[in-house]
Subunit: 384 residues, 2 copies
Amino acid sequence: MSVTAAKGFTAAGIAAGIKESGNPDLALVVNNGPRRAAAGVFTSNRVKAAPVLWSEQVLKGGEVTAVVLNSGGANACTGPQGFQDTHATAEKAAEVLGGHSAGEIAVASTGLIGVLLPMDKLLPGIEKAAQALSEYGGEKAAIAIKTTDTVHKTAVAGGEGWTVGGMAKGAGMLAPGLATMLVVLTTDADVEAPALDAALRAATRTTFDRVDSDGCMSTNDTVLLLASGASGTTPGRAEFEQAVQHVCADLARQLIGDAEGASKDIRIEVINAATEDDAVEVGRSIARNNLLKCAIHGEDPNWGRVLSAIGTTRAAFEPDRLNVAINDVWVCKNGGVGEDRELVDMRYREVRITADLAAGDESAVIWANDLTAEYVHENSAYSS
Amino acid sequence: MSVTAAKGFTAAGIAAGIKESGNPDLALVVNNGPRRAAAGVFTSNRVKAAPVLWSEQVLKGGEVTAVVLNSGGANACTGPQGFQDTHATAEKAAEVLGGHSAGEIAVASTGLIGVLLPMDKLLPGIEKAAQALSEYGGEKAAIAIKTTDTVHKTAVAGGEGWTVGGMAKGAGMLAPGLATMLVVLTTDADVEAPALDAALRAATRTTFDRVDSDGCMSTNDTVLLLASGASGTTPGRAEFEQAVQHVCADLARQLIGDAEGASKDIRIEVINAATEDDAVEVGRSIARNNLLKCAIHGEDPNWGRVLSAIGTTRAAFEPDRLNVAINDVWVCKNGGVGEDRELVDMRYREVRITADLAAGDESAVIWANDLTAEYVHENSAYSS
């Protein structure tokens, strides 16, 4: 599965020595063609890491031959030297892959902000990774991009004769403008860059963009979609977009399921909103309410905290028409006390909150996590 | 001290039995005149508790004879019955104080959302409180409004012959639009309602409105300023505003110092912003970043998380001109690595973050708290 599920791709994941632990920390994904079309979506954080600034430029050309990804360092807030390091990474990959220019090599990094990468380890690592490239290397690549992820994440979908596969890392800093989420999707469908771009944007808008684990937006978020055309098949537009959507949704759900220190995955569905934007704004406000996130952790169906979160938004609603269900029990009706909160069973990892704005026909789903002592511990006990 | 520091006021704090613990839970503050001018500032949450809806109407008249405050229940999201209960509370106070109408009685409540108040205990409690009214009752009133506060909070300021005193409760849900923060300020200065209103709004804008303990905005925030005129003195406008500002700043600082589960008080100063609004937006974004709040708890000067928080705002800045100091050590210079982070001493409770946007001359200070396992515990272990 992973990035080598689709034909035309090879990948590798190795330990370059960037991480002090000695764990795998460098992944290489290569598109062997015949087509090398690509699309990308990046963090909307205005403080962008060097590899994001680099890869945004690379993607403007619409062609990507290979992606170099490293964990163990974000190369963010590292000034001109950091950008030179990213450039040198792309140059090295172009050199070892032969016959390519650095301008076709995308780079993605994740790890601590504000520290230069150990280039004396990273550059030899690229040579080592190139030697390890394999059409079965997708899993190893997915493992090498892990940071505090407890499991590696892959997904696959497709149609007759063609495939979309992908890998992701997440764990911390998941948030609206995308998280420190590095995602590489590959397909052997024969699709040109503009159609890839449309499919990727449509998919991320309702998947990765609606994951809000901890409200913190990363400097490094990168989602790439590469097409090799190796299947010789061009799927219908709707069919292709659906497959990309499926893989993105699958990976996004895996990110939430493995978020730092989380004990609950919270599915927040806002219904009967006047507009989709209203539904998303309300969903995010609920997703980010620390008091509610603590209550969910404590398996307390504290709907008052849902209402207080809704009340901070600009969405269209009347306070005395709001309804809230937790795990399908309508604990709040018409802005006041509804069904008995004792009926809510919150023992399971997935918790469903439904907020009915009674203001229209639009809806949206946002995924979040609870707030736990483990989250505090993981994020206070050491720099990450 | 407290609300009886100024002449013309009596107060009481008693246990009415609203709290199961038997702790004091009902406070009464009475303005005995000769003037009964008043101003109020309320939560900007659109889901407002019944007492907020009631008191907003009362304040429109510019006259308040008494304030009834209860802890042990927020009377929020309680529908028409909740509003009737607040009305009955005001009626009862007007009756026992004699010769007043309910329309002069402000009401404030704090505690769990979505539960009706036990009126069979609250109404007799008002009689009991009226009997206990005393010009020395300010401390007891301040104690009776506590919820998870560990200490009661009072402050005083003033000039020649006149005084401004006040009490506050806070602890959880402190946030920008004001928190579940109940504050009553009193003065014996002879000041009319419009001047009170101007002084109160000017003061809350830069004090309570810039406290952001946990990003959660309450349904019940209320700040009242009552003037008795009993000193017979009308201070100069600037002098009066300064005294109100002083008392608000003092109480706001006390709220941060006693926030739920906090181990650090974080003073975030944004300097060289293009506009004051920019400075406030950036300060709030830093204040609400859970990853940074965890890092501060861990005494980790993780400036990368400050930059990633700045990057989510719309404020005017260039990423490569940003500077960040933690406890006066400029750990980030020009968007990259600055002075050695090992120089930062974070052992003390107060932590100072300075964010230099290098984009203008405006500044703002936001106060926040760290995120701790104790915060999670307090807010997950029981409903509040």
